[in-house]
């Protein structure tokens, strides 16, 4: 699983990468995940439906991330734009 964050001037940046079945790597992923949520990021998991269509789901905790997810993408929270 890869944790990615989109950033101005960068595109996506890899925050952490590891196998969730390996306890040490899972702990690192969990730590990075929490750090991003605490920084106010939204976490999205790209998924594919049974029909093959691509979708996404917002997750609010590491436990909500599907075990087979390859990526979690963090992006800044939405805010009302130009008034």
């Amino acid at each position: 699983m890869k944790l990615l964050r989109v950033k101005p001037g960068h595109g996506d940046v890899v925050l952490a990468e590891g196998d969730v079945t390996v306890p040490e790597q899972q702990a690192q992923l969990l730590q990075a995940f929490r750090r991003e949520l605490e920084a106010g990021m939204w976490a999205a998991v790209p998924t594919s439906a049974d029909t093959g269509r691509r979708e996404a789901e917002l997750v609010r905790s590491f436990e909500d991330v599907p075990a087979d997810a390859e990526r979690v993408i963090f992006f800044p929270r939405a805010a009302g734009g130009e008034r």
């Binding site: 989109v6 001037g9 996404a56 939405a78 009302g80």
Partner: protein
């Protein structure tokens, strides 16, 4: 004498090139979808057309970031949606709220008054007509009714990164589109409630919006003809 004339000609060409460059930049580059809007905005800053300066702007870095963002977007959305974005420069998402976004009722009433049918459609019937959003990079989301082409409103929403790694809080274009796509397809209501809603034409000109709606319907028709199959609703992951 010949040398002097040649030198004068070279100087003249160089001067004309310098004068013409900003105009070429603005007339040609917006047509290339690979150029991030931030770069275009920065060139407007140089021309004095926009008062908002951007600190520490590196065009090469911005282009690389945009390329990465496009690769990420492409890996997340459907093939149909990617084709739409890369060819038209925006993405269409179908709305899924049982009621239209706020502000739409006024447009529905106006539509009903304009209806030329023997029996004007009732509001309930018009409400049942599907609506959709056009997602533009780093511009408001546009809500409209595909059936009639009526633009319902603009929803201004941003995803500001307050860490401002290079002085700007704005995401690369394709990342902004991806964030809007994720948010609209997962939490449409929350996103729309959070956005600043404006009447049509505030930031995206009505003519531009109508042209894009027309371009989209032509694009879909062409794809339908070229593939000889039913085009699924492009942007077909409905908002939730």
């Amino acid at each position: 004498m010949a040398l002097a004339l040649t030198t004068a000609a070279i100087v003249l060409v160089a001067l004309l090139w310098v004068l013409a460059l900003p105009h070429l930049w603005h007339s040609l580059l917006p047509k290339l979808k690979l150029v991030p809007s931030r770069l275009l905005a920065s060139s407007r800053v140089q021309l004095g057309a926009s008062p908002a300066p951007l600190a520490d702007l590196d065009p090469g870095r911005e282009l690389r970031a945009e390329q990465r963002a496009r690769a990420l977007l492409r890996s997340c959305i459907n093939e149909e949606e990617w084709a739409m974005y890369s060819e038209l420069g925006f993405l269409r998402i179908w709305g899924a709220l049982p009621e239209r976004p706020a502000g739409a009722r006024r447009d529905l009433i106006r539509l009903r008054r304009r209806a030329r049918a023997p029996r004007a459609p009732r509001i309930e019937e018009l409400v049942a007509t599907p609506y959709a959003y056009l997602i533009y990079p780093n511009r408001p989301i546009l809500a409209y009714v595909p059936h009639t082409g009526v633009v319902l409103g603009e929803y201004c929403i941003e995803f500001p990164d307050h860490t401002r790694p290079y002085g700007s809080s704005r995401l690369p274009d394709a990342d902004d589109v991806l964030a809007k796509w994720v948010a609209l397809t997962t939490e449409e209501r929350a996103l729309i409630e959070q956005a600043n809603m404006h009447l049509p034409g505030r930031q995206i000109g009505l003519e531009d919006a109508r042209r894009d709606i027309l371009r989209l319907s032509c694009w879909e028709r062409e794809r339908l003809q070229s593939k000889g199959r039913t085009v699924p609703r492009a942007g077909s992951v409905p908002a939730r």
